[in-house]
């Protein structure tokens, strides 16, 4: 039963107050995208065994989407941050790397 801090309200919200939303930092593939790019965007979601950047909505709260860096094995939370960003903040990456040296999110499974 996770506890994630909503970066907008500052509340450590329990999982039941949140709605999960899958992998974060997707880049939308529009009508011009190739079949492969579109397939990748829609279906080939990050599914790493380890640090994962993911979306959550504070559904039973402020209603905002935010992003979390969470380890899918240990549930360690390396940080939560607002959804309006194309990549994870440096300090979150640093925290992940402290635990998983050499980690980089684009290459994560």
């Amino acid at each position: 039963m996770l506890l994630l801090t909503c970066p907008y309200c500052g509340i450590a919200a329990e999982e039941t107050e949140l709605a999960p939303g899958g992998a974060a930092h997707l880049t939308r593939a529009g009508p011009e995208a190739s079949d492969a790019a579109f397939d990748a965007y829609l279906f080939l979601r990050d599914n790493p065994k380890g640090p994962h950047l993911e979306r959550w909505r504070h559904a039973m709260g402020c209603g905002k989407w935010f992003l979390a860096a969470r380890d899918t094995v240990t549930h360690e939370v390396y940080g939560t941050y607002p959804a309006q960003t194309r990549e994870p903040p440096a300090e979150v990456v640093a925290r992940i790397r402290a635990r998983h040296p050499g980690w980089s999110w684009r290459s994560a499974g």
Partner: protein, 415 residues
Amino acid sequence: MTRYSAFAIAREAFRDHLGWRRAWASPEPRAAYDVVVIGAGGHGLATAYYLARNHGITDVAVLEKGWLGGGNTGRNTTIIRSNYLQDPSAAIYEKARSLYETLSQELNYNIMFSPRGVMMLAQTEHEVRGYRRTAAANALQGVETEWIGPERVKALCPIINIHGPRYPVLGALWQPRGGTARHDAVAWGYARACSRMGIHIIQNCAVTAIRSRDGVVTGVETTRGAIACRKLAIVVAGHSGVLAGMAGFRLPIESTALQALVSEPVKPCMDVVVMANTVHGYMSQSDKGEMVIGGGADGRNDYSQRGSFHHVEETVRALIETFPILSRLKMLRWWGGIVDMTGDRSPILSKTPLGNCFVNCGWGTGGFKAIPGSGWAMAELVARGEPGPLAAPFSMTRFREGRFIDESVAAGVAH
């Protein structure tokens, strides 16, 4: 290898059961095999078994990182049914179900397939329409199902409250020859049969890398050394994404936790399997007397085999609403498994971008029932290098093509 029978037991009884032999051998891995199957769950073992049985390929190793059958095969709620809506699903699940009917005899291992009947309750008008549609489809697919009314539901399962004030039971989709089987026994029975045919089952052997040359697989590296192979089958359920990563491609798979519970054992009170999708819970009573219960999957990626507790609560609420007598029973254990969910919630049996490497995954919350059929179809794919009719619709290219096999339209869950 001793044949199992009441006679064999009697004979052994008089020598204190000292004469029993290993059910499966525990060989050292060889340097090379014709085919390596990664994952000794039900699907991996069945793949190996049918490679030998149907295609005469016995130079096969099944590599298992832990103990065989310890993945989802060993932790599922054992519901077997084939009343699927879409043709490709109905075909492979019905193939599996019909193989289950005679599997104990074929394997000479009692897997306790119990065709006690599965009912999927309809508790809204929408569900009624959905199940009638499925019944109509099943009739043309050669799947024996029936739409039954609430009285029949009550007669088949007296402990259901069909007058639920919130969601009265309006009827059910009934598959009289659906049921359950002993999950562990399915893995063990296949393992024993594989071993008997010379297939190597190598436990405590995790694949750590996949080797290839010129886009064609050449072997694997494992915690017990490198093993070469001509063909590779990845059959690792929740870990499919990890293995695909080793093989250099991506899969439309997300791994999440699905939980199940068992109650303390009580005297038989429920002879059928009941699934209630509106309230979201399903239950059967095992031959030992426990109520075996399952519910919904987590919505987040997970590899920890625990899951979040609130799903347990949601399931239990739903079941008490449907079966009021449950309230004073006690749950003695709950656990999770890592299920592999695809974009359309249907499995993948497919060639991959890597030559001679095949994948079988995406069975998600409902692949126990498919084990024999899936193994059959996968063996065909691996042996021939091309899918047969059972596997063909389940290729991984379907997502790109937009050709989905979406079962969720008929049932909220697909266990």
